[in-house]
């Protein structure tokens, strides 16, 4: 018994700094927005799929399923916590989707919360590094900016682009995503850096060469929530259900174990192909993409692996404007991780929040005609990859 699945309400807190709230309190805020726009009863929700990456380190908090359920008045139902680094809530979403699709539940809550900003940069950087190989990568002091710095330098070499030229090209990702982030009231950088220039990116503080501060997404506190159900259930309750048309997921080990293709991000290609296949679509059918731009170069290599551009052409594409809101394939018109913020465990369902709002024509600050969107969430150095395709059309 396979059923079509759709999104009802979505919710997202303002991204940024929330030192005054616990993880469950922060999540409750996102949940209430999602619930209040779903036209359902509390008792309709049969299970909770919650994503969180490092609650133990930032808040001394684990076993979060129960605390989340209790905080929002749903104590008693099954509540799971999912951890797949930055892809935690996308993994949660995919599991929730599969459960509804295959008849386990009719209506469930998915979401995530994280408090990395409040943790401070040294602890936050160490917490993020737990998503790397703990024995063989972290020992050298490798960090996530470091991983993508290694990839940037290798990308330049592989495609024979002078490193300084590549830095300029990928700086456009930061300029673009900050432009949209500055327009997004829920973004960490709302009203900030909207007029960032390529030179500002190049001249900001070096974090891991060749990546500077503006090549990186920030540390963020935030939460997001999504209610999904069978398409029939959703159609009875909301005017514009957004249908989940396909999902994909893939895995890999440490970066150095993936020696065959680190600039090509093979796990992402596998995950995206799984999602396209289930949806019966190709990259040409996608109108807008919400891609894991943890770093400028990360968006570029993702845009290639997902099939929007040939390998080696992604950096040119952003420089030429093809991924801007008025371009061929708009990428991250909500600001992405760079402009909107990256509350790790909440990021995947926050991408879905933006995608759903945009497909419903409710993303007021940017106008894009779109019927189909894809999300892309990356955990670790390609260890966990999830892609989700959403559409206004059921079939």
């Amino acid at each position: 018994m396979k059923r079509d699945v759709a999104v009802l309400g979505v919710g997202q807190t303002k991204f940024g700094s929330h030192p005054d709230k616990t993880l469950p309190e922060l999540f409750a805020e996102a949940f209430f927005e999602a619930f209040d726009s779903s036209n359902i009863e509390l008792r309709d929700i049969e299970a909770i799929y919650f994503g969180n990456f490092v609650g133990e380190i930032t808040d001394g908090a684990a076993n979060l399923g129960g605390f989340i359920a209790d905080e929002i008045g749903l104590s008693g139902i099954p509540a799971y916590r999912f951890e797949g680094a930055c892809a935690s809530s996308s993994v949660a979403f995919r599991e929730a989707y599969l459960a509804v699709k295959h008849g386990i539940y009719d209506c469930v809550l998915v979401g995530g919360a994280e408090k990395l900003h409040s943790a401070g940069t040294p602890i936050g950087t160490r917490a993020l590094a737990t998503a790397l190989d703990s024995a063989y990568e972290v020992n050298s002091g490798l960090t996530f900016p470091g991983v993508f710095a290694l990839i940037a330098r290798l990308y330049a070499k592989t495609y024979d682009i002078p490193l300084d030229k590549l830095r300029e090209k990928i700086a456009h990702v930061s300029v673009k995503n900050h432009k949209y982030g500055a327009m997004n009231p829920k973004a960490q950088f709302y009203n900030k850096f909207g007029n960032l220039k390529v030179e500002d990116v190049l001249n900001s503080r070096m974090i891991c060469s060749p990546l500077t501060l503006f090549d990186c997404c920030p540390m963020t506190d935030g939460a997001s929530a999504v209610i999904i159900a069978t398409a029939d259930f959703a159609e009875d309750r909301v005017d514009e259900p957004i249908y989940v048309r396909g999902t994909g997921q893939a895995s890999a080990g440490s970066l150095f174990r993936q020696k065959w293709d680190i600039v090509k991000a093979l796990p992402r290609r596998k995950s995206a192909e799984m999602a396209y296949k289930e949806a019966g679509m190709t990259p040409k059918d996608i109108d807008v993409a919400f891609i894991h731009d943890c770093f400028t170069i990360a968006e570029v290599i993702a845009s290639e692996a997902m099939g929007f551009f040939e390998y080696g052409k992604g950096a040119d594409a952003v420089e030429e404007g093809l991924t801007w809101a008025d371009g061929e394939i708009p990428i991250n018109p909500d600001g992405g991780l760079i402009g909107k913020g990256h509350p790790v465990g909440a990021t995947g369902t926050a991408q879905i929040y933006s995608a759903v709002k945009l497909l419903r024509g409710e993303l007021d600050f940017v106008k894009i005609d779109a019927e189909t969107a894809i999300t892309d969430t990356l955990g670790g150095d390609f260890g966990t990859l999830v892609n989700i395709i959403l559409s206004v059309h059921r079939r």
């Binding site: 940069t121 040294p122 602890i123 950087t125 160490r126 993020l128 590094a129 737990t130 703990s134 024995a135 063989y136 990568e137 972290v138 020992n139 050298s140 002091g141 490798l142 960090t143 900016p145 470091g146 710095a149 290694l150 990839i151 330098r153 290798l154 070499k157 490193l163 503080r205 070096m206 974090i207 891991c208 060469s209 060749p210 990546l211 080990g253 440490s254 970066l255 150095f256 174990r257 020696k259």
Partner: protein
């Protein structure tokens, strides 16, 4: 297993796991072959020589590593084919001003203080890469 790898490295030996099915060298060793997934492996000593694939100078370090900045993290492709991650023992300025990709290196081990989250609670060993050309 990971402690054996670092103990050998501190004794001047870089060890890998050679696959008896497909000949692939997996380094550092893991429970299965990095190419074919076979468990039919034997531990072998490698040449400890290779070339730089990519590198980055780290200026912002995690808690526990902040006293070591700036440091240069690199991926090296060993002559036996495996890639490993370690640190280049060149100074940050040289690494940022020159293109070191493709340079030949030799691997050796260096001990650093461990930190609360590192799996070895006694010490933290880092594969170091010495440029030899």
């Amino acid at each position: 297993m990971f402690k054996d790898f670092f103990s050998a490295l501190m004794e001047g030996k870089l060890i890998g796991a050679k696959c008896r099915e497909c000949e692939e060298i997996t380094c550092p060793p893991k429970s299965t072959c990095n190419r074919c997934g076979s468990r039919n492996l034997e531990i072998v000593e490698l040449s400890g020589k290779g070339k730089i694939v990519s590198y980055t100078v780290t200026y912002v370090a995690p808690l526990g590593y902040d006293r070591e900045v700036p440091y240069v993290v690199a991926i090296v492709e060993l002559d036996e084919g495996a890639w490993i991650i370690g640190r280049l023992d060149v100074d940050a300025e040289k690494a940022d001003n020159e293109d070191l990709i493709g340079k030949r290196v030799e691997v050796y081990g260096k001990e650093f203080p461990t930190e609360q989250f590192y799996p070895d609670k006694q010490r933290r060993v880092v594969p170091m890469f010495r440029v030899v050309e």
